[in-house]
Symmetry: C2
Subunit: 362 residues, 2 copies
């Protein structure tokens, strides 16, 4: 059983294939390869599990493989140069196709490499974590981290296709699964209360990796993401709501050092902070905030900021986040569960209230 969602972006439109044996269907991959040269970029964790399966479909191509170390701390310009080196050494042309086989880090770094090599070669996303499947592989945001800020160097660059095989989640560890659920909950919070309610009612089945539930949350998430991206590809407006919890979350990731928290974990904490701030601004009720925190906890996610990151650290780190216009901190908040808002300005007092008080005394 396979479903397809189309991301509608004119001549940059592409399909998201999702199902339970997509990796066995050679044709899903090869129909999007335009020349004989193919490079697979993956990491040390994913390669032993799925590289051979993908390679099997590509025996008639000139194939190059780059295996990167695993982890957010390797999402740098320096590591990206390894991909360029491999492409240059094989003398691959601008028609070569890059396949990103891995989680969000692999998708981001190799998508950005594809955007830059010879000013752009085609690439295909084959996400192997829940987080990459429901969020980062769709929508064309690619990039690497800078020592002073996450995802600060990158490109909007759409893939030719996204191939999601839910079976690969069998080998995902619990912590990675939970990190993905953080982004799934996000879609419910920002625009889909029905989906939020469904997740709340089915969180035990999701955590238990019930296949039908996983397929359902992937499909709902990709559907939401595809709609938002189609409406605002380059984030000049509405797409920003996808960053709920991310301004706080990026500050946490940068502040404690890349790799200590998984991205989804930092987003979970950041979303709780955003919910707390939304309550201080009079939008969310206490009971809403409690529901949100309870759901993240049931999903196995952290909900409180690290003790050693003080309010001023957050302020400093958030000031360089991409969501900021001309130095003002721009936060995505919630008017209610299922309805995100982009306040033009947030008063310093309630923001400091959240940073100093939320999750600090327990």
């Amino acid at each position: 059983m396979m479903k397809t969602i189309e991301v509608q972006l004119g001549d940059r439109s592409y399909p998201i294939y999702m199902g339970s044996d997509c990796l066995h269907q050679a044709d899903l991959l090869t129909r999007h390869i335009k020349s004989r040269q193919v490079i697979i970029v993956t990491n040390e964790t994913v390669a032993p599990l799925y590289l051979e399966k993908v390679q099997t479909h590509l025996q008639q191509y000139e194939l190059e493989v780059v295996i990167l170390p695993d982890g957010e701390k390797y999402k740098t310009l320096t590591i990206m140069d390894k991909i360029f080196d491999a492409l240059m050494t094989r003398k691959f042309s601008r028609n070569a196709t890059l396949i990103a086989l891995g989680g969000g880090v692999i998708g981001d770094i190799s998508g950005f490499a594809a955007a830059c090599y010879q000013r752009g070669i085609p690439f295909i996303q084959v996400p192997t974590t829940l987080l990459a499947q429901v969020d980062s592989s769709v929508g064309g945001k690619t990039g690497v981290n800078h020592a002073k800020g996450k995802n600060m160097i990158g490109a909007f660059y759409q893939p030719q296709a996204v191939i999601i095989d839910v079976e690969v989640l069998d080998t995902l560890d619990d912590r990675q699964l939970s990190a993905g659920i953080a982004e799934v909950i996000k879609y419910g919070l920002i625009r889909d209360i029905g989906f939020f309610n469904w997740i709340e009612a089915n969180i035990e089945k999701i955590i238990a990796r019930d296949k039908g539930s996983l397929i359902y949350i992937i499909e709902k998430s990709c559907h939401n993401k595809a709609e938002i991206v189609a409406a605002d590809e380059r984030e000049s407006g509405i797409r920003a709501i996808l960053n709920l919890g991310h301004t706080f979350g990026h500050a946490i990731e940068t502040g404690v050092g890349y790799g200590k928290y998984l991205h989804g974990e930092a987003v979970a904490i950041g979303t709780c902070q955003a919910a707390d701030l939304s309550m201080r601004l009079g939008w969310l009720k206490n009971t809403d905030v409690a529901r949100i925190i309870a759901l993240f906890k049931k999903a196995g996610l952290p909900t409180e900021p690290p003790e050693n990151l003080k309010a001023q650290d957050f302020i400093d780190l958030m000031a360089v986040d991409k969501k900021n216009i001309d130095g003002n901190i721009r936060l995505i908040l919630l008017n209610e569960i299922g309805k995100a808002t982009l306040p033009l300005d947030v008063d310093r007092a309630p923001l400091l209230g959240t940073l100093n008080e939320y999750g600090r005394s327990k």
Copy 2:
């Protein structure tokens, strides 16, 4: 006296201003700046000459300046990181404007930095060499070199405006002026025989820096470039003719080490090689090739490949050039003076004839 040519690219259209006191007109710059944050990127050679003049217009802005070392060998990802560092340290947002003040290297590297910082910030080209004014500042090709190939990492990213002040050529050394003329002659060769004839008749005045002649060649060159870019922004077809001499030229630059030849010098040699090969294929007459070589020589440019770069070196180096499709070497050649052609395939024998014999025995 100021002229404006519009590069027609839909919502990415922009003006090229050219004249003899453009740098004194603050408004040409400030009308294209959208926020209070401005970063100027320049180099050690240009900064003492023109940085203050540009800064004068920007006193009401939050201004950051990055001064890079001068030269093609610094056009790398590593040097580009200095620009990111400055932007991050100042916490500049995605509405900050980058001004590239310098020659082709500064324009390429800082245009690429603008393309990547926060996935794209606006930038303005203020080219200070003839080569940058007539070619590299217009059309949105940005990028850096890779150890194994020139301009292999980059982006198509259009500026908000190009501001060309012909007065800055007063401080340009003769070698740099000649390098720029190589690209001027190129426009005549690929599509404008009338312009070629004019350059031939006026080369002494151009070399003597007659202001009227310089303005004329800049205007004609930008006009030709703007038309080609408007027809084919991302080089899927006709834009490739702008690479006349460049496949040979890039091989020379990479083969002898970045910085030994100026880009325009390598292009001059490469264009002579392309002319020689066009003759071997029965297209150009001997007298055409002699005219072309004579004009480059009068312009103060080298016309023969370096002795230590053998035919096989050229073959190896050209195989990784961006103009190649799936490993085949793609050359831009001439059917006649004023008419470029993109042969789908070039026989190895005449190519080896050019590489082994042209400029080798004198």
